[in-house]
Symmetry: D2
Subunit: 312 residues, 4 copies
């Protein structure tokens, strides 16, 4: 095991690597690309790596199911950090290639819907074929198999290509959220702008109101939800668990009480971590709803103790 | 101050006295009738009595507003016991009086609607006049001012009267609930069939959803409500507080957490006590809703602590 | 039957008469005092009067139970108007009486708690005895039975008394709400500042969440509640129905849908009328919550019809 | 345009084709495989086909995002039928191939996680490479590029292969749900076992309680949800719409009222159809919650009309 090794969803030159390199500590770690999300996470599980960076949510494609499913099942892991990366593609070509001569393009399958409109406008006759990753697409262009690849501009250097067009993206504000995942440990202290992730199972039987009850455990304690995604449990059509991101840190009382409420009413809850929100400073976070601050929780506890002593 | 003196809503011969005498400890106390609910409770507040028995809810007339308002305002008091008493009236007359010669009847104003139908059938021409209490009505019959009084059968002896007709009551199952009130102290230990009473203020401003929020604090923790009564706060039409009876004991986790939730979101909560339910044995009480037992609360707390340590 | 006769809770000289006289139409009606709320309402039921004015809510004493219970039971009646009257008492005495010589005072039992503090301060030794009404108390002072009576200042003339002290009231902003009640008919058209009253039964069996469901029928359609009062159904301790005042008019879609929702889930709902709010102009009423205006209801209906035709 | 042409997610030999052939009408239609879900649906949009069969939900992989996103955006389409197909893979090989000689295997990327455990046990050393579809994998085996392909057993004939092992699937009860999609029209009449699909947007601004409100529109009318899936709206991380399947038919009053409620409070709602539930007979469907049947809705409407006429 190596405390200095971080894995990531490879190969080199992907957006995941770019996201990983935005973390200051990445400079002092050995960064190891892996062929898949499960492979990156298994390296953490079995001690070959201290942490793994993997994509978890994309503003165009939605939740990254491989990551969600890996975090929900198997040996527990925890999220310690998130990274938001704007996603803009570059059209990478071998030096000297002109746009008019691009007949075949490649890239990761999830890249295709993100550049579809651009392709229709600028390369209406080019043939698309999928590659295993954007970086792999770049490699295939280097090898001459395709004329151009959609990838991050930063991948050009690695594969000896040049960016013919940059900032390509059909959707404005496209970005991907990545998480740094490690073995379970004590979460970092709250920063004032934190997020808590859990996976929640609703029970094997058919309980139509169960999702409503789940949301009320958060709502009644004033805990805002930022994301809720259903994932099949594998027990057949209609059986789902929910990956939920909530505002706040497990050490805050309203969050802790909501989590305990879920733990009591749901057959299974998996805590995935409390960690700083990317791109949001504590000043930008709305204060807790009246009645849900830690001070108010403490005052209510004190009042209860006094009431039980006949001193309220 | 006398630890052996109990006051009650008098005069002698009322249903309140009958209710008080159902308590075993009454046999060893000095029982002192008072002219009003405030007088009975003030004697407790100023130390002249250890406790007071007063009516709080009547199955025909509803909440006893004098009691609710006294408990909600002024120096705090606590409920330690409740007594349920079936209410059936006797028509008390001077010995020898026949029904056909009854021309005038009396009784407490709240007795009148409870015997209205009986009167219409059996004494359609009799004139009703209100007395200050049922017992006072009996006294006035003794003095010859009226021909008959509606009162508890037990009042006959006190006033030298005889019950001409008994078991009179328009409504089946009529009963009154009384509470034994003392100065605040530690509530009795839970019995498994307990009730918790609180008064809750919703805030001076206009908050239409506030009552819904109040009920959700109970509902989300599986705490059933047995009674909810609005009382004006005195701040003008439309300003109400709520007297609430909930199933369970303040020392049970689901009740405690609900009370703390109310304390956090409401401007004022007054704890009125946790005490055994009258007429219900622990075997008859439904078990807590799944996920809300003390064991499940404890297990969830343990899970949270482990989660915060990375050991869940 | 007389279409020109209005009954009211008498006797002459009560606040109810004063409230009735604030209605312009009262000038052209025969105003008949009745001995009780049931008597006033029965006159309407049996056709002896076109309408009755009775008190329904007092900012100090709460709901007027006789009125609530009469409206909830028996042959249906409907509310057509409400009147808000500030309540201030005058101390009425025979001409020439000085405060220092007042040894006995009287008034209606509900007046007593409203002037208790004033009495304690200004007449600490005076003896209180209850009268059948404030006006009746004035009459008894006229007859010399008591030295002074608490009543409306307007009652002085009727009984040949003079107001020794005026504007007496322990609570600021004390007021009473009265309603004009008639036989059921089509409600008046909405004014933009309306109120709808209903009585709702929750079912005979023990349903802890039933009140929450009731409130959600209103909440989900954005209908604000102004008052909710529990009244015993007469079926035993713990069996309640609820008198509810909601903002808006039955002809408004959000109100109509909420009422139908209640009708579907509750064993019984009694519509008591939609009528203009006293003391509130349409300009002062908050607009409906987004998504709940009549226009939005109509647009949603249109969309549904188009959807069912495959044209949405 | 051809009323007799149905497209489906091809190529020939996929599970989608097998699902399509379970529909009786398929026998009399021209069945045309398309290279992608968008292509299959665009053929319907532009009139080249009457309907398209596409996968929408998989018990292992979850929602089929391409289908969900296509139905949520672009020119409206409607679902008219659903098909549930158990998913079991066969390992297809060229005739005569033995298991011990299989060194390379292929299949659609979503097949891989569904047979991962089987591979680990029976072919631990075989190399996996992804194909564009399971059928395409079979073709590549036919061409000799790989030794074996995971596909439906029915694909063997098409590609001149033989099933070496059948009924392969890591998860029990694995199945996929397909939908038959056409241009918007009047939905089929209710069968008593129906499902209604909608896509709901929650508004661009940050509204933490919006999902809870959405669920309450269904819950308050007793409409059970069978599936809720979030999909990014493309407006950036954290912006989601929800694809929802609800029990019941748009022509049922409780469903219609819930849909109108959503339409009023949400910026956009897209009705995707009401259609018979696959694999469930009307006898197996739970009756509507008390108070939510069509008869009860009609009775409540009648009561409202009578109330507005003063005849309730």
């Amino acid at each position: 095991m190596s405390a200095t090794r971080y894995t990531y969803l490879g190969p080199e030159g992907t957006f995941t690597e770019a996201a990983l390199r935005t973390l200051p500590e990445a400079a002092t770690r050995e960064l190891v690309p892996m062929v898949s999300v499960p492979a990156a996470l298994d390296a953490v599980r079995n001690g070959d790596a201290a942490a793994a960076l993997v994509p978890i949510e994309n503003s165009v494609e939605g939740g990254v199911t491989a990551t969600l499913d890996e975090l929900a099942a198997g040996e527990p892991l925890m999220i310690y950090r998130e990274v938001l990366l704007p996603i803009a593609f570059a059209l990478l070509v071998r030096p000297g290639t002109e746009l008019s001569s691009v007949k075949t393009v490649t890239g990761h399958p999830v890249a295709q819907p993100q550049v579809r409109n651009w392709l229709r406008t600028h390369l209406p006759d080019a043939l698309w074929e999928s590659a295993a990753s954007n970086a792999d697409g770049a490699r295939l262009v280097q090898e001459g198999k395709y004329d151009a690849a959609f990838a991050g501009e930063f991948a050009a250097v690695t594969y000896g290509l040049e960016p013919l067009v940059t900032e390509i993206h059909d959707a404005k504000n496209a970005e991907t959220r990545f998480v740094l995942v490690g073995r379970p440990a004590r979460p970092a202290a709250p920063t004032g702008a934190d997020k808590t992730s859990v996976v929640i199972w609703l029970g094997g039987d058919d309980r139509p109101g169960a999702l409503l009850e789940l949301l009320q455990e958060f709502a009644v304690r004033g805990v805002n939800l930022m994301l809720i995604q259903s994932r099949p449990t594998g027990a057949g059509i209609g059986n789902y668990c929910f990956a939920v991101d909530a505002e706040g840190h497990i050490s805050e009382r309203r969050v802790a009480e909501a989590l305990m409420g879920l733990k009591r009413i749901c057959p299974q809850v998996r805590f995935l971590g409390s960690y700083p929100r990317a791109g949001v400073s504590p000043e930008e976070v709305e204060p807790p709803r009246p009645g849900t601050s830690d001070e108010e929780f403490t005052a209510a506890s004190d009042w209860l103790v006094r009431s039980m002593d006949g001193r309220a």
